[in-house]
Amino acid sequence: MENKITNQAVLDIIKEKFPNAIENFEEFQGDFIIYVKTEFIHNILKFLHYDENLSFEQLTDTTAVDWATRKNRFSMVYQLLSMKNNYRLRVICYVNDDLIHPTVTDIWKGANWQEREVFDMYGIKFEGHPDLRRMYLPEYVEIHPLRKDYPLMGNPGDFKLPPIIED
């Protein structure tokens, strides 16, 4: 089944609604990627979800990228799927240096756990998230292991072993 909508059409629809928001766009191995400005990200995703022509019903995945040396160190990546058009779109934006980012749980309920995972692994705090706790790691740890400055083997004392009760 082919896409019912072209990359250019998607771009035009977004550009018409948000003329200043898109910084860059590219097609890589069949995936259409748009880079947007952070201050527009919530409105754009809301528009993509509720627009009748685009109708991105599903947020397939939310993740982040740590660029380590760049000024805006983290990127947020949203992977969207429009089942109506059989079309996938990737939206990327920078995270501000204070690491506070708007949540999308009010648009897609499924973003709840995905954003908890990103918070767990990268330490990005999502403003307005209903239940921002760690997803995988124990609650007592204070690390964010997918950051580039975290060593592969961890630091001694990051994780606790169980107490040993002698017979």
Binding site: P145, F159, P162
Partner: protein, 163 residues
Amino acid sequence: MGLEALLRGEDFITTTIDEVIAWARKSSLWPMPMGISCCAIEFIAVNDPKYDLSRFGAEVARFSPRQADVMIVAGTVTYKMAHVVRRIYDQMPSPKWVIAMGACTSSGGMYRSYPVVQGIDQFLPVDIYVAGCPPRPDNLINAIIELQKKVEKTRARDFQDKK
């Protein structure tokens, strides 16, 4: 076919209580499969007719730690899971033994990264390590036989004061 063929009239044997108890213990090791990941599949194969662990009296896999003698830790133990493994081990009645099955359990294996405990001997007293990723069923049977040799040497009074 068995010992009863040797019986003639009112024969008797002499032995010690310690040896009888050790013999009974080693011949009925009830394993508790702590199947955390893929090694557990290999443990299932050991119980299947082809390899048939019941030949060594260890076929009764008990999923309650309170009924088990030997815990077979089969799989990658993360720091988060280590607390669960230790708590289940503490619930087993003494005498109890531990088999570390597979490379991940024994040494962290290929998971040389921050969340994986690099060998469960950091928080459990391990009796037998089994090599392999995952170990062949023969290898686990060998571990059971080695454990039987170890249990054979125990004395009942060694466990008198244990819980």
